[in-house]
């Protein structure tokens, strides 16, 4: 069994809008799994369902691949989640945030692990800073350190690199690749096609539907079209103009547009 988690026929509606339409896929153990799609594709909804923060209308998320022999309730300690929005206490220090997360997950003797993680994320010099005073990149790393303190088997990262400067982004990727050594399965959502190259396996989503899946090479081969990435400001206006005047498919990905032809 090399499947960590399998997602089976997930459906979710918000009122009239179908946010997720019959989504199924498997996440392989100890790999970096990519969930790629434009804004509004349903990535965040899907991740929140997988973390148990949201209930699906139908379908299920099967964690039997990583569930330990113990009781079923323990699954919460095997899952880590980094939301798009920073969700730690800005008035607590780096150390205190990690301590709190360790405590509520019932981790004793977290001190050594905390030092390790602070070293690993290069936050050691900032350990007595209040989290609110850290930069965007550092907050992201702190959130990761907090998640890793209880050694989850799988972590879900919702657009961890959106709004983070390129240098921090690259550093973040190095840290993530290092995690694979610790037997952690990683799921990352991103709107950036250029990051897709770094994944072991990709699921592409649009409008709540799974449109294709495979390794980055397979996806590229199957697409058989040219994707032109346009980075521009303001991206929303450019999107509207292109949509009106160009026949080919235009998609908005955070701060850039993809033109497929």
């Amino acid at each position: 069994m090399d499947t960590a988690v399998s997602v089976k026929n997930i459906m979710k509606k918000f009122g009239e809008v179908t946010a997720l339409n019959d989504i199924s896929f498997n996440i392989k153990k100890n790999k970096i799994f990519g969930l790629v799609g434009p804004d509004g594709a349903g990535k965040t909804t899907l991740i929140r369902i997988m973390c148990g923060l949201l209930k699906a209308d139908s379908g299920e998320v099967d964690f039997s691949g990583i569930e330990s022999a113990g009781s079923k309730g323990k699954i919460k300690n095997e899952i880590g989640y980094l939301s798009q929005k920073f969700s730690l206490y800005t008035d607590l220090t780096v150390d205190e945030n990690i301590e709190f997360i360790a405590d509520i997950h019932g981790v004793k003797n977290y001190q050594t692990r905390r030092d390790e993680l602070l070293q690993f994320t290069r936050l050691k010099d900032f350990r007595h800073f209040q989290a609110g005073k850290l930069s965007g990149g550092m907050k992201q790393k702190l959130a990761l350190a907090c998640t890793l303190i209880y050694r989850p088997k799988i972590i879900f990262l919702d657009e961890p690199t959106t709004g983070v400067d390129p240098v921090s982004r690259r550093e973040f990727w190095i840290i993530l690749s290092g995690l694979l050594k610790e037997n952690i399965t990683i799921l990352i959502s991103t709107p950036y096609m250029d990051e897709a190259e770094r994944f072991n396996y990709i699921v592409m989503m649009n409008n709540g539907k799974l449109i294709s899946e495979g390794t980055p090479a397979e996806i590229k081969a199957a697409l058989n079209m040219t994707v032109m990435e346009i980075v521009c400001i303001p991206v929303r206006d450019a999107y509207k103009i292109l949509k009106k005047n160009v026949r080919s498919d235009v998609q908005m990905f955070g701060d850039r547009l993809n033109l497929i032809f």
Binding site: C51, G52, L53, K85, D91, L92, D103, I104
Partner: protein, 376 residues
């Protein structure tokens, strides 16, 4: 189970002590509210200003007036010379009541006639006017009986008073209304502060989505609630102690009953108010809304329905039923028993049970609501 509750409490304490605003609310607001309300809310009538229009200006009339002036309730501030002045002084609010003594006051008394003294009282504030009326009548009757006694003794008859009422006021000997209001004040200050602090602290977790880290952890909604309540319970006990201390210094409040009973009663009340705060946080989506709902739910019923100022017994039956929804009603009964009467726990054990049931219900409903919220 308990380690998670403790870790949430420890985190909460760190946040409270780092936030200057909540520290200000906790340590300054209660004591200043007590001083403010304690001095403002008092229905004792003292030093009522009187204007005197003495048309007789005789020895007897002066004697009567000085007996009024001698009481602590009245002070004669103005001597009036004509009818217009009576109007003017009352209209301007310079005096509260005017006394008009007719010109042959002394002569008529001496010839055993019935004399009318006219009182013109400002009736805007009905309750104060009523009290003033009673005081004035009492002073007049006293003066009457003095004249009668003198008259009789001059004629060689020993005067007899067949009926005399001797009053003894128990518990609050001096009928000090501040002493009566203090329990209500303590209840009001505690409910406002605890409901606001807990509801806001939980809603803040929603607003900053910090609650998500707790939701994906194995912490149950009951553990979350208890972890949130504990630090505020401890702090509120300190607040209660500081209010009591200040009440002692400023208004001479003393604990006549046992401190242990006081502690038990206060803890039960705080559990009830804190669980109200938790419940509000499950309905409110922003800190501002939570603040407003908290104020409305805590302050208004405490002032109107709790028997703090208006006696519940004189309310219509429907309102009496409604008054049961506020925990302060029960705490005020407990406090009056402990602080003023000094009675045993068994006297107000029903109130203690009510507060515990109230807390249990609110915590239970909130736990269910928090659990349900996680899924939507």
């Amino acid at each position: 189970m308990f380690t998670r509750i403790i870790s949430i409490s420890v985190k909460e304490f760190r946040q409270i002590f780092r936030d200057k605003r909540s520290l200000l609310i906790i340590f300054l607001l209660p004591v200043s509210l007590l001083a403010l309300f304690g001095y403002a809310i008092s229905i004792d009538v003292e030093n009522i200003k009187l204007g005197v229009f003495d048309k007789d200006n005789s020895e007897t009339s002066r004697k009567y007036l000085s007996s009024l002036d001698a009481s602590a309730y009245f002070t004669i501030t103005d001597h009036i010379r004509n009818d217009n002045e009576v109007n003017e002084l009352l209209n301007n609010g310079k005096i509260y009541a005017a006394i008009v003594i007719p010109d042959n006051f002394e002569k008529e008394i001496q010839s055993d006639k019935n004399v009318m003294i006219q009182y013109i009282v400002d009736g805007v504030d009905a309750s104060t006017a009523g009290i003033v009326q009673n005081y004035l009548l009492a002073v007049t009757y006293q003066f009457n009986s003095k004249i009668v006694t003198e008259e009789l003794s001059r004629k060689g008859i020993k005067s007899v008073t067949p009926l005399n009422a001797e009053m003894q006021f128990w518990y609050n000997k001096d009928l000090d209304s501040t002493l009566f209001f203090i329990p209500g004040l303590i209840a009001m200050i505690l409910i406002i502060i605890t409901v606001i602090l807990t509801s806001i602290s939980l809603v803040r977790e929603k607003e900053f989505s910090t609650i998500e880290q707790i939701r994906i952890s194995p912490v149950s909604s009951l553990q979350l609630i208890l972890g949130k309540i504990t630090p505020y319970l401890i702090l509120s006990l300190f607040i209660a102690a500081s209010i009591l201390l200040m009440g002692g210094i400023l208004f001479g409040v003393e604990v006549k009953g046992s401190y242990m009973d006081l502690f038990i009663g206060t803890v039960c009340y705080l559990l009830a108010t804190l669980s109200m705060g938790v419940f509000i946080s499950t309905i409110a989506e922003s800190q501002q809304v939570a603040f407003q709902i908290s104020q409305l739910i805590s302050q208004l019923p405490t002032i109107i329905f709790s028997g703090f100022i208006f006696p519940i017994e004189s309310m219509p039956y429907f309102i009496q039923l409604l008054s049961n929804i506020t925990p302060s009603k029960y705490f005020i009964i407990i406090l009056r028993n402990i602080l003023i009467k000094g009675t045993e726990l068994s006297v107000y054990i029903d109130q203690i049970y009510f507060l515990l049931i109230f807390s249990a219900i609110f915590i239970f409903i909130s736990a269910i609501r928090i659990k349900r919220e996680q899924m939507t």
